[in-house]
Subunit: 173 residues, 2 copies
């Protein structure tokens, strides 16, 4: 088995993080990995907003929870870092480009021993005024929609692997 | 630099393939990598259709070219293998789930020394009758839409790296 396959299979959705910030250098490696994803038509109309501050991450979680009815305890699982991938509004490749960048980012986090969890909730409510105000404050371009984000930090509790579902492949010779 | 970063940065969109089929075992490793992507809500409503036959891949390219006005020479760059990722129609996470699976697949192809190219065109025309008829013949579920596909094979001509665009990161402390 290649090293890559081990990393791919080791990635988990961490749902309990420690409060300490990982080194800034590691966070920048996550962004570097994400930027090397294959953008459709080579356009790269994405933007990466790194919230490297537990208090600011929590403030965003609270705004999202209120806008998207996630419940009062919603806190991005206590992760001190949140990385938002946004994309210019109404662009055809926004979802696939951003998601492939996110997968690179999550794999790199796994390779570095960091926990990560793909967060979809901000996408649903990025235009709700209170959420948008925070996004703008944090640097998300105003003509962008949020496609996805990642909670990042040290793992407080390991997540067990889920078995993959069978029978989803057709092989034509 | 970790091995993973090297793989991520070595991935290219191959646009000239040799006609020989790579070993079936390698193709199944690509699928295995794809299946370990993180599906939203753990739903895994994707399907992987592997066209492991140069003639059948070309037949699909021709149908797509006609439906999507790609020109008469459109042939998936001569790749003998095409892997289609489809997803149950009208599902919220279809695009992000499929794209993260595709990124795993492309990285694994890179790690194995195979060429790959993300192909978006089938998505545009998967419901055009002539295209849909072939997709159904090849095993794409009828209630699925195609999100993306990959041309896969041995590299006939290397693609140079493109520099990444700067200034797309905001870091908030």
């Amino acid at each position: 088995m290649s090293n890559l396959m081990e990393i791919i299979k080791s990635r988990r959705s961490t749902r309990a993080f420690k409060s300490e910030l990982p080194p800034r250098e590691q966070i920048m490696q996550l962004i570097e990995a994400a930027e090397w994803a294959p953008p459709g038509m080579g356009k790269c109309l994405w933007h990466f907003t790194v919230i490297y501050n537990a208090e600011k991450s929590l403030a965003l979680a609270r705004a999202v929870a209120e806008a998207d009815n996630c419940g009062p305890d919603y806190n991005f699982y206590g992760a001190p870092v949140n990385i938002i991938i946004s994309y210019q509004r109404d662009e055809h490749h926004a979802f696939v480009d951003s998601a492939s960048a996110m997968e690179n980012l999550l794999l790199m986090a796994t390779a570095l021993g960091l926990g990560s969890c793909w967060i979809n909730q901000i996408r649903e409510c990025c235009d709700v005024p209170r959420v948008r105000a925070l996004l703008t404050e944090y640097g998300v371009p105003e003509d962008h929609i949020v496609i996805c984000s990642a909670a990042i930090g040290y793992i407080a509790k390991e997540t067990p692997a889920k078995p993959r579902k069978e029978g989803r492949v057709t092989f034509v010779e």
